[in-house]
């Protein structure tokens, strides 16, 4: 479907990959001095990996990264990414806080981080989680891209079995979708906050997942998580837990934000959005906007803290 305007777009519904990519084009054309669409690579099946860059100028400014939907079946995350991208664009010049952030920093959003998997969820298997890469010697397809990063890769909390939903892959960064982000982050070199968004179970987590050793910045990350969760809960009373991955949910090696933290990105967080176990990955579309609205409040707290605490 051709998107006519990002104002008339139905944010309260789930959309296909093509619709989201068309919507990205439209957003970039409506906000030409703020938003650009960039390709950072291509997926295993050859689909483009797009990010939206929000920038008011400058060169290699300190930046904030947000990704949604690395696990393709977590549809509320991609939908939240779409809503947040529109919110950033429309708030610039109207909201003091966002204007101030964008006057000093750039924001990058990768809305469909796993496009092959996302397309597969829309066409063949709604419950698909992994990438769609072929694994040699087995008929089982795909790698869990949140176990494929070079941080404790191959350790406990990831599977060596290709048929498992948490298969780590043959080596770190084997997945093109992961490698594209790794290359982008390293080439950029000035990312200061990295927020990776998942669903479900209502959690805000910081590193580590692969070891129980606390991160050096634990107290600051913990306090910031507390403030972010408090802001989130203020809208609809949604209850969140927060803490390090390993102490709050489970041990997981090769995870995204463990890698980003090791790269020196202090403000590395991952969300698990709504709900708390009624619909799981099948969250009704009428909860998209409330989920996005409350998540936005927490993300904003993290972005403001990043702006106010340069390092």
């Amino acid at each position: 479907a051709q998107i006519r305007s990002t104002n008339s777009f139905d944010y309260a519904n789930y959309h296909t990959l093509e619709e989201i990519y068309n919507w990205m084009d439209e957003l970039a054309s409506e906000y030409p001095h703020l938003v650009t669409k960039e390709q950072i690579g291509s997926s295993y099946e050859g689909r483009p990996l797009y990010i939206l860059k929000f920038s008011t100028g400058g060169n290699n400014r300190p930046s904030i990264w947000i990704d949604t939907g690395i696990h393709s079946r977590e549809w509320v995350t991609q939908a939240t990414g779409v809503w947040m991208a529109k919110k950033i664009a429309s708030d610039y010049g109207n909201d003091e806080s966002i204007t101030s952030i964008l006057d000093q920093m750039d924001i990058f959003i990768e809305i469909v981080t796993n496009p092959d998997g996302f397309h597969f969820t829309h066409t063949k298997n709604r419950m698909w989680r992994k990438t769609r890469s072929i694994n040699a010697g087995t008929s089982c397809v795909g790698v869990d891209p949140n176990r494929n990063w070079d941080a404790g890769f191959g350790g406990p909390g990831a599977s060596s079995q290709p048929c498992s939903e948490t298969y780590r892959g043959p080596r770190a960064n084997s997945e093109k979708e992961v490698k594209a982000i790794v290359d982008f982050v390293q080439a950029h070199g000035n990312i200061k906050a990295f927020v990776s968004i998942h669903s479900y179970s209502q959690l805000l987590l910081y590193p580590y997942g692969y070891t129980s050793t606390p991160v050096p910045d634990k107290q600051e990350l913990h306090d910031l998580a507390q403030r972010a969760v408090s802001a989130l809960s203020s809208l609809y009373g949604t209850s969140y837990r927060y803490g390090s991955i390993i102490t709050t949910i489970y041990q997981a090696s090769g995870g995204t934000i463990d890698w980003t933290y090791k790269q020196g990105i202090k403000y590395s967080y991952t969300f698990e959005l709504r709900d708390n176990g009624r619909y799981g990955f099948l969250l009704p579309a009428n909860q998209i906007i409330p989920t996005a609205q409350e998540t936005w409040l927490a993300v904003k707290v993290i972005m403001e803290h990043t702006r106010d605490n340069p390092y």
């Binding site: 139905d10 519904n13 789930y14 063949k124 709604r126 419950m127 048929c163 949910i249 176990g277 799981g280």
Partner: protein, 94 residues
Amino acid sequence: NDSFIGDQVLRITANSEEQIYMLKDLAELDHLQLDVWREAVKPEDSMDIHVPHSSLQTVKAFLESHGISYSVMIEDVQSVVDHERAEMLAARST
């Protein structure tokens, strides 16, 4: 298309470390084709598992025989998927 007719998502609550290990072992039995939606790390945590229709009897019998409590979180996964698809189609035509 993959079909989820008769599949259920069970919300399982283990009341001991031992039961958590038992559930992890259960989830790794390939022939049951279980899909862990949410893991449990400590007793009283909820664990959500998507169970194909063909494995439901086996899994429920296992849980009941070991005294592990559970409830049905999603009665029929396919009906929820169908509802979601219908909503999307309706929105698109609107």
